[in-house]
């Protein structure tokens, strides 16, 4: 049983519930001497009862005005999921198709296909915390980890707009890692990196990234959108080609393999393959995750007003049957048989 109120400040009016003990809605009757009215238990009881009724009526109406409710508590539940940062490439080439052309007619750009498939992915994972980061020349923190799916979808929706120039994966990864909490072994961190190009990571940045991965502990999924005719992650180098500059994708893949983290690479050359890769990530990343849920609320305002009705009815009844002692022009000669002065 949890009770709450929406407008606590209204409760400042509660001292008004003391008013029935200071005053009365009933008629005052002046009596010449106290001795004329003998102590009367019935009268005293009635007076007390009516005071309590008045207090109840005031208190209940004030409570009703503060909008009381029952429930609405946040509770922690355990579901399956993970903390996922979507790290999206926003370089200009993402706006081309898998064939490397500007989309025409019904063709879908790499960014649009990714956006559509990520939306499905997010929809299938209701308990995940999602964060979104983007990178081109600089990394951009789009949305910190959140359980507000509408906001995540709005950020993914924005991801197929015109991109910027370059592909700076290293700084993007650094940004994505920094969005997690460090040293939390109970949380499961996942980075889903979506990019259509490799990049050379300089040795200094390589060491920094390695340290960051050790600190924040994240699984890395590299969804590589391969454009027709370009180098792939798993290509074997030809003669004179075995350098990071000539084959950045291959070297990036090999660097990720040395990080000592759970790492998987998917090379997709069509939207169907992207879908398959995302489905696999979905199946792999199923860990216990704690999420919060708000219990439904029940409004008690109506009940409070209704229960104020009863003491009000009582007060009204007492008022209506209030006896008027005969206004005596002459001097009291005898005490009345029953004092009903309240």
């Amino acid at each position: 049983m949890t009770l709450g109120i929406d407008h606590p400040w209204v409760l400042a009016l509660l001292p008004l519930a003391l008013v029935p003990w200071l005053s009365s809605p009933h008629r005052r009757i002046a009596i010449g001497a106290l001795i004329l009215v003998p102590a009367d238990r019935l009268s005293a009881g009635l007076r007390g009862g009516l005071r309590i009724a008045g207090t109840l009526a005031v208190a209940l109406i004030v409570t009703a005005l503060s909008s009381p409710y029952h429930g609405g508590r946040l509770i922690s539940r355990t579901g399956t999921g993970a903390q996922v940062v979507l790290l999206l490439d926003r370089s200009g080439s993402m706006n081309d198709t898998f064939a490397g052309r500007t989309p025409a007619g019904t063709e879908e750009s790499k960014a649009s296909a990714t956006k559509r498939l990520l939306r499905d992915f997010i929809g299938r994972r209701p308990h995940d915390l999602f964060g979104v980061a983007a990178f081109s020349t600089a990394p951009m923190l789009v949305l910190p980890l959140t359980d507000h799916q509408d906001a995540v979808l709005a950020a993914v929706n924005a991801s197929d707009r015109r991109g910027l120039d370059f592909t700076n994966i290293a700084r993007g990864l650094g940004m994505a890692l920094s969005m997690f909490a460090a040293d939390r072994p109970d949380e499961h961190h996942v980075i889903l990196l979506v990019s259509d190009g490799g990049a050379v990571i300089d040795p200094h940045a390589q060491d920094q990234l390695r340290a960051l991965f050790a600190r924040y502990r994240a699984d890395l999924y590299f969804l590589f959108l391969r454009t027709a005719g370009s180098k792939g992650l798993f290509d074997e180098p030809g003669p004179d080609e075995n350098t990071p500059q000539a084959m950045p994708e291959r070297f990036l893949h090999r660097y990720f393999q040395t990080l000592g983290i759970p790492y998987r690479a998917f090379q997709a050359e069509s939207p169907q393959q992207v879908e398959e890769a995302i489905r696999q990530v979905d199946a792999l990343e199923r860990y216990p995750i704690t999420y919060t849920e708000r219990l439904p609320r029940r409004d008690l305002t109506g009940w409070a007003y209704a229960s104020a009705g009863l003491p009000l009815l009582l007060l009204l009844a007492a008022k209506l049957v209030e006896a008027r002692l005969a206004p005596s022009r002459s001097v009291f000669v005898a005490p009345p048989a029953r004092g009903r002065a309240t």
């Binding site: 005005l65 507000h148 009204l316 008022k319």
Partner: protein, 337 residues
């Protein structure tokens, strides 16, 4: 047995305190029975674009005696603004650097997803800028087109410092329809010149931009008419003169006349960046109202009436002076709901 009661009741009904108790009871019952009333609420739908170029790092605001950068003030104000918008309102966020706005997310409901939007606004950082240049006018026109595409109003927060300076022939021309997108340009920065912090490529602050570090004059287009009198002027080889132009482009202040001009040309309004309350006022004054149906709980009206009547029965509110306040009360209720 009933007859004396009937007589009592008949006599007591005329007591004003009886009337007050009856009123309290009737109003309490009315409060139970009153359904939620359908009303329309006006929210806003706005795209907030924040300039994150280098000059926004200039620390020419003060908070609690310490200098604070324009970007920090802008972030704080935007976060505060989110909580001040009428529900349901939707806010999208974009960065501006170089010459285009970069959309972070489309407008989302800030009443439902407040935490997410607030977190995103808090995460804005100049390090996210992808180029050192800031072509404000081009960025503004791009932001207007973006806001139009998102069917939202625009709030563009910038200090108005074009880097490099505009050529003498003037900036780019707005080819949209002025007023098609409503909104406000927010000028960030102080009114006197302040030095701009300089950072190395790892993001560490390394002093301030010096007079010889920046371009003070744009050499695209035609030279200024006084160029002939400059030292070393030669019509073909040195039409701008041979000297290195100097100026105050390495310092920064809010370029208010320029921003007002841009606002005038695009049908936006202008305001200076102060705080969230200021932003909310400027935005709500110009924003397109977006009505949406809602249900209003007005049970507090009869409820408050019941309380007042009950207290009146106890003599706390003098009944005689009551009558003229009733129409005033009803009028006030009409204004509120």
């Amino acid at each position: 047995m009933m007859a004396p009661f009937a007589g009592l009741i008949r006599r007591n009904v005329r007591d004003p305190r009886t009337l007050a108790l009856v009123t309290a009871l009737v109003l309490a019952i009315a409060a139970v029975a009153l359904p939620r009333l359908p009303i329309t609420r006006d929210g806003v739908r706005v795209l907030v674009v924040v300039d994150i170029t280098g000059s926004m790092n200039t620390r020419d605001y003060g908070r609690d005696g310490a200098p604070v950068s324009r970007l920090a003030v802008a972030k704080e104000a935007v976060r505060d603004l989110l909580g001040r918008l009428p529900c349901p309102s939707r806010v999208g966020l974009a960065l501006f650097s170089e010459r285009v706005p970069f959309l972070l997310f489309e407008p989302v409901d800030v009443c439902r997803d407040y935490g997410a939007v607030e977190g995103a606004a808090d995460a804005l950082d100049w390090r996210e800028g992808w180029e050192g240049d800031s072509h404000i006018a081009e960025g503004l026109y791009g932001a207007i087109a973006m806001a139009q595409g998102l069917d939202s109003d625009l709030m563009f927060i910038t200090d108005g410092q074009e880097t490099p300076p505009l050529p003498l022939s003037g900036g780019p021309v707005f080819d949209g329809k002025p007023g098609a997108v409503r909104g406000v340009i927010v000028g960030a920065g102080g009114y006197s010149l302040a030095p701009i912090p300089k950072f190395d490529d790892r993001g560490n602050e390394v002093g301030f931009w010096g007079v010889n570090d920046v371009q003070h004059e744009n050499h695209f287009g035609a030279p200024s008419p006084d160029a002939e009198s400059r030292p070393g002027y030669q019509a073909r080889n040195a039409p701008f003169g041979s000297g290195i132009p100097t100026g105050t482009e390495h310092l920064s202040s809010v370029r208010e006349p320029y921003l007002r001009g841009l606002a005038g040309g695009t049908g936006l309004t202008y305001t200076h960046l102060e705080d969230g309350r200021h932003l909310a006022r400027a935005l709500l004054a110009t924003a397109t109202p977006r009505p949406s149906p809602a249900l209003a709980d007005v049970r507090w009206v009869p409820g408050a009436g019941a309380l007042a009547a009950l207290l009146a029965a106890y003599g706390l509110i003098p009944v005689r002076g009551w009558r003229p306040t009733v129409p005033g009360f009803i009028k006030a209720v009409g204004r509120w709901s």
